[in-house]
Symmetry: C2
Subunit: 321 residues, 2 copies
């Protein structure tokens, strides 16, 4: 089958690869839409976390072997460790992610555990269904922060995770400010319901979601909190923490890391997706995957969320290159 493969640092290639093997409990899905995640654009600069050769892609929707229209929770947990026992399966000691630790969805087909598959409503497009995974990240982040009604919320970054964080934040509060350097992304944020947009965050907030994770956004996420406020970090751009370690004590601020989602967060995201505006994605044929991925990586392509969409129809099987 055709797949976009991470083959070496900074390199993805369209290749013919073997259809993944099916083990007991697995199911084959014909991919109809698979989103390119910012973590993949950054992640392929090194070969430590994601190891080439690898078919990436963990945001996906498609049709399973029984003809059901589905999306997939790509986070696999052992179900037995202390974190799984504490209903924190996203922090599982042996957690694996489809598209990172096993072949993902930038391909004509992907094989996933049957238990990870969720049927989607007839009315939901594959494009929307592929957005349930990023949306689940935002559901989780906001649940961790649990802002009081009427909270002043700011979101740093108007990429995919920033915008889905905005959409979920609007479920908690109408007062959501979005900050980004791109005026066109800020325009999308305002169209989606942000009350304010800015290229530099001013004022004071009860809750700030850092969907970037740069040193500067880490700093801003703490500095712009009111005393006693909460910063939630989802972005993974930098290891630098940026903020003043004494300020967090004197003003009793909180910094919460947020990683992925639990199964119930994923299910809530699937339910939310039915009435949430998620139609700001851009489709590309799978065959253009390597070009689009490389352009996004190099900053030459400005779409917020690119979805790679294999042409519908029977899956072609070819020999492994």
């Amino acid at each position: 089958m055709r797949a976009m493969v991470f083959t070496a640092p900074n390199t993805v290639e369209m290749l013919d690869v073997a259809v993944p093997t099916i083990a007991e409990g697995d199911v084959t899905i014909t991919v109809r839409a698979a989103g390119i995640c910012g973590s993949e654009l950054h992640g392929i600069r090194h070969t430590d976390f994601r190891k080439p050769p690898l078919v990436m892609g963990h945001e996906l929707a498609g049709v399973d072997q029984d003809g059901r229209r589905v999306t997939v929770n790509p986070l696999l947990s052992c179900g037995m460790c202390d974190r799984c026992s504490a209903n924190e399966e996203h922090l599982c000691r042996g957690r694996l992610i489809i598209g990172i630790h096993r072949p993902g969805a930038f391909a004509e087909t992907v094989v996933v555990p049957k238990a990870s598959v969720y049927e989607i409503p007839d009315s939901m497009t594959f494009e929307t269904a592929a957005m349930v995974e990023p949306l689940a990240n935002a559901v989780h982040a906001l649940r961790l922060a649990d802002p009081a009604a009427g909270s002043r919320i700011a979101v740093l970054g108007a990429g995919t995770i920033g915008l889905v964080s905005l959409l979920v934040a609007l479920e908690y509060s109408m007062d959501v400010t979005v900050c980004d350097l791109s005026e066109s992304r800020l325009k999308t944020a305002l169209e989606l319901g942000a009350i304010r947009s800015s290229t530099e965050l001013t004022g004071e907030y009860d809750l700030i979601i850092d969907a970037v994770g740069a040193e500067s956004t880490h700093r801003t996420s703490v500095e712009r909190l009111r005393p006693g406020g909460t910063a939630v970090w989802i972005g993974l751009l930098s290891s630098s923490t940026g903020f003043d370690g004494q300020e967090i004590v004197r003003d009793e601020k909180r910094v919460l890391g947020s990683y992925c989602y639990t199964r119930s967060d994923f299910e809530r995201a699937l339910s939310l997706a039915e009435h949430t505006p998620l139609d700001w994605t851009t489709r590309f044929p799978l065959e253009l995957g390597a070009t689009i991925f490389t352009e996004l990586m190099d900053g030459r392509q400005d779409v917020i969320k690119a979805l790679l969409c294999p042409a519908p129809g029977p899956v072609k099987t070819r020999s492994l290159v």
Copy 2:
């Protein structure tokens, strides 16, 4: 009256000063014990937060003008700002602290608002009553973290705040490890109920209280958490955050700043103090204040908590120097 005065960077002196003026709602207290706080030892290196000339001292017990044996909550709030309205009076926009923003208790007498005074039980010594303030810091920190029963807790630092954190942590969990570089302080921690003591923290914890606030303890407080664990920072030694900003996301850890206490935390500390071992303090006559303070500051004096105790009896009034 005699008082120990912060007169210039790194300098405290015993002086004759005027008895503080009494305004409406104030009460005069004859000081019987006043603890020297680590924040004062570090704080007088600069003149930005505490401004000389200043009588410091915010941990105190004594006798009020009606002869009642009392301790004092030194944190004064406006009662009107957004933080006070949210029952976060310790984060009051106009908060003032006795011994920082108005004359404190390293003196024969101190004048405080009547509303800040708490009568102490007959059975409680002045030495114990002066420890209610540091104890309240620990009550607050543990309340913020709210560890589950049976949690593995570590406390970094076996100074006063570390040891009171240990004592309050024992109310939540029997599994408390204390870490410090001083073997004699670790011995005290074990005597007070720590299950384990160490000069270097190993293993994995649900909750880590950083009662030091150095770059190295900030780092350790995050690194040694289990996935999903919580670090509470009370110490104020350094602005350096020390930890990896990506680790906090990938392992979904939390860093909570903790500052002072609310009125109810202070009242809970007063109640806890009745049955909590707080007799590891050391008394010094007020007249030795400048010597002891300077020795503590320079690391030539190893007592964990020095209490300055003016000789009981009528307050001598002398002319201002």
